[in-house]
Amino acid sequence: MANATFRIWRGDASQSGFKDYTIEISEGMVVLDAVHKIQAEHANDMAVRWNCKAGKCGSCSAEINGSPRLMCMTRLNSLPLDQPVTVEPMHTFPHVKDLVTDVSWNYRVKLKLKKFQPRKPDAPDGTWRVQQADIDRVQEFRKCIECFLCQDVCHVLRDHHKHDEFIGPRFFVYSAAMEMNPLDTADRLGDLRDSCGIGYCNITKCCTKVCPEEIHITDNAIIPLKERVVDEYYDPLRRLFKMFK
């Protein structure tokens, strides 16, 4: 049985800092297992969010050795254990306590976005006919587990604090899923250009790197949306045609 040390961020707004815990570890453990052991044996009041422990609910987002990861999907044998493993809360959201942050901004943003508005069903039985090939890319976006790691890592939010002007990668994925949905009739391009701040994204792709569902956020969602915005508002030929319509 080996030991490992975990340097966990403890405390709240009034006072916080790293605290070291050394515990016995075993084969196949993930970071969340270590946190649970510390919680049960050394720190009963440790604030940590988790639910499914299988990478499906997106609750246990944290920064492990500086990388935004899900704690339940980070195996200890993928980390250097000859030094302390640092476990911190997500930096981009207001800190609540220990490893828990206030992610409510994400819920407020979603509420402001135009919802799904399908066309009327057009098949004889009152439903729609949709081909699998036409929804493959939408289904990629709907794998999102709302872990908010992409939001956490995006410099526009993390470093430049543009929460009032930029909806973040998660919500570009959300918007793309509807814009590319063959049934949806709403037009979100104007909002994407203005209130959603898609122009702020300079495609550094940190979001794509951290997505636990391996959604190609930048290439499949953000860039196509940028192209649509540009086509609609910045294409000189299109503007010319519109003038003469």
Binding site: D12, S26, E27, G28, M29, V30, D33, Q39, A40, E41, N44, D45, M46, A47, V48, R49, W50, N51, C52, K53, A54, G55, K56, C57, G58, S59, M73, R75, V96, K97, D98, V100, V103, S104, Y107, K110, L111, K115, F116, P118, P121, A123, G126, T127, W128, R129, V130, Q131, Q132, I135, V138, Q139, R142, K143, C144, I145, E146, A177, N181, E214
Partner: protein, 606 residues
């Protein structure tokens, strides 16, 4: 009291924001009720998110021989005829409409070649019936409901936990809660309350269930005077991961078997062919070849024995392991990689149909399921028992208190078919919302009981007074999980269950001394101590009901009563609370099946 704690007024309060809770809230709000939702976790992260297989609905998109009658008969057979037949009828009839409605709200299901919603095979279903998206249908459902619900004027209270239901003259008039972030108490004054709190898996060591599954709704209802039903029937899903220890119990969807996955013991034998129950013989394949053809959509073929009902498959696996024919880490082998013998592009096919299984095994166990078999074993998965409800309205025996989803009882009888839970959530979530709103409109608000609020607050804060000298609540929960796993698990026996009852009493004494340090803010130790009471209350009831039912049927298997009994076939078990707080377990006759439905069952048995 009014000055101390904030009071939130609602027509309908929904406890739980999984599939059933969200669907109920949407219906209540659309019926004109002022609706509030309380959820222990963050919105969109309830256990529903874990559901993989699909929603069972007799739409007939893949096999037009399917209709509500076949679905109804399948559900009743799976439940060993202990089901509430009216609930099974309503469920089979209304599921297709609920699935189509979900599509209209934005759910993006996999499609058939002619563009309809695709349906897959699953254990116990005669025809391919499960509408799905890859192997992440639960996520699709909850996200669709969440994204629709947020625009219906519903108020959400995230990371709030209900401590007690408030009653006035036997009627439920609201609930007492605390918010997890700051630990402050609040009162919900509601004309109707809907419990949608899920199951009880966290009472067991090996479970597929999320953290929040601590039997809250069951305990809240019981303490408020409601009748519980079928508490002995806990489903142990046959295929959970077994290695490494950190993933033990995590679900491996039945969908793997639906796509052609087979079960083998350490000798490479497909042991399921050795033991096909009589009442399923006519529906089960004779040869591996026929079984394979069934999974690939051949309508003339019958299902492979791997797709028999979960209770049976779990017991077969358990038997192989106990007999020493299991896999290295105490399970059996589930092999989908073998289909490379049948399909040229098997690797892409498996990754496309079962992406999250591929991902889960690769990430957590470093296994590539397209190349090698998985090790799987039984895991505590679903609670068939729960709050007894009236079939059409979902109201419990306490006026004003409703229950929907896993925390309700009756639809699934002694064993649930895969896929029937997701459609259960939609059908009965909608009904609970509809009838709760109606109740609220007709009855108006009740009077809040000041004494119950004061008492609940006092009891909730007690762990802080005991401090570091008290019992560690995590240790008590851990000990409960061990004892339930060993003594009230997949194979039961009178003496072991009696032992469990004694140990539970001892744990109750320890839990009453649980102590917590730190402050009230996001104190997970405190939350655990509070959830623990619910787990202990319900664990005792489960053991008592299991002892009472002296037969094996569906999900309950007893070594000392290994056969089905014609006498017990006539009864469900109901549980109510005695004045001294102890559980009163009574037989109650199974809901009588009207002639038209009897005829349906007989026709489908051919």
């Amino acid at each position: 009291m009014a000055a101390e704690y904030p009071i939130h007024e609602y027509d309908v309060l929904v406890v739980g924001a999984g599939g059933a809770g969200l669907r109920a809230a949407i219906e209540a709000a659309n019926s004109g009720a002022k609706t509030g939702v309380v959820t222990k976790s963050l919105l969109g992260k309830a256990h529903t998110v874990m559901a993989e297989g699909g929603m069972a609905a007799a739409m007939g998109n893949v096999d037009d021989r399917d209709n509500w009658k076949v679905h109804f008969a399948d559900t009743m057979r799976g439940g060993q005829y202990l089901n509430n037949c009216r609930m099974a009828e309503v469920h089979a009839k209304e599921a297709p409409a609920r699935v189509r409605e979900l599509e209209a709200w934005g759910a993006v299901f996999d499609r058939t070649k002619d563009g309809k919603i695709l349906q897959r095979n699953f254990g116990g279903h005669r025809y391919p019936r499960l509408a799905h998206v890859g192997d992440r249908t639960g996520l699709e459902m909850i996200r669709t409901l969440q994204d629709h619900a947020i625009h219906q004027g519903i108020e959400f209270h995230m990371e709030n936990t209900i401590l007690r239901l408030l009653t006035d003259g036997g009627r439920c008039v609201g609930a007492f809660a605390y918010d997890r972030e700051r630990g402050r108490f609040r009162v919900f004054h509601a004309k109707a309350v809907i419990l949608a709190t899920g199951g009880i898996g966290r009472a067991f060591q090996v479970t597929s269930n999320s953290w929040e599954y601590t039997a809250d709704g069951h305990a809240l209802a019981y303490l408020a005077g409601a009748e519980l039903l079928d508490m002995e029937f806990i489903q142990f899903h046959p295929t959970g991961m077994v290695w490494p220890p950190s993933v033990k119990g995590i679900l491996v969807t039945e969908g793997v078997r639906g796509e052609g996955g087979v079960l083998r013991n350490k000798d490479g034998k497909r042991f399921m062919f050795d033991d096909i129950p009589d009442n399923y013989k006519s529906q089960t394949a004779d040869t591996p070849e026929e079984g394979w053809r069934y999974t690939q959509g051949d309508k003339s073929a019958r299902r492979p024995p791997e797709l028999l009902t979960r209770d049976h498959v779990a017991r077969c696996i358990n038997r192989e392991v106990k007999a020493g024919r299991g896999s290295p880490h105490g399970g059996v082998f589930l092999d989908i990689a073998w289909i490379k013998e049948k399909i040229p592009n098997s690797v892409e096919h498996i990754k496309k149909k079962l992406p999250s299984m591929y991902h889960q095994f690769k990430q957590l166990a470093d296994i590539d399921i397209t190349q090698v078999p998985m090790e799987v074993g039984p895991t505590t998965h679903y609670m068939m028992g729960g709050v007894a409800v009236e079939a059409d309205s979902q109201m419990s025996t306490v006026p004003g208190l409703f229950a929907a989803g896993e925390c309700g009882a009756g639809l699934h009888g002694a064993n649930r078919l895969g896929g029937n839970s997701l459609s259960d959530l939609l059908v009965f979530g909608k009904r609970a919302g509809e009838f709760a709103a109606k109740f609220a409109k007709e009855k108006g608000a009740g009077t809040l009981p000041k004494d119950q609020v004061e008492d609940a607050a006092r009891v909730a804060l007690a762990p802080f007074e005991r401090g570091a000298a008290g019992e560690n609540p995590f240790t008590v929960q851990h000990d409960l999980q061990s004892l339930m796993q060993d003594l009230v698990g997949i194979v039961r026996q009178e003496s072991e269950m009696q032992q469990a009852l004694e140990k539970i009493q001892a744990l109750k004494v320890r839990a009453a001394k649980a102590g917590i340090t730190g402050n009230r803010e996001y104190n997970t130790g405190w939350h655990t101590a509070l959830d623990l009471d619910n787990l202990l209350t319900i664990s005792e009831i489960v053991a008592k009901a299991a002892i009472e039912r002296k037969e094996s049927r569906g999900a309950q298997f007893r070594d000392d009563y290994p056969e089905k009994s014609t006498e017990w076939a006539k009864y469900n078990l109901r549980v109510t609370r005695n004045a001294d707080g102890s559980p009163n377990v009574q037989k109650t006759p199974v809901v009588p099946v009207p002639d038209e439905l009897k005829q349906v069952i007989e026709e489908q048995a051919k």
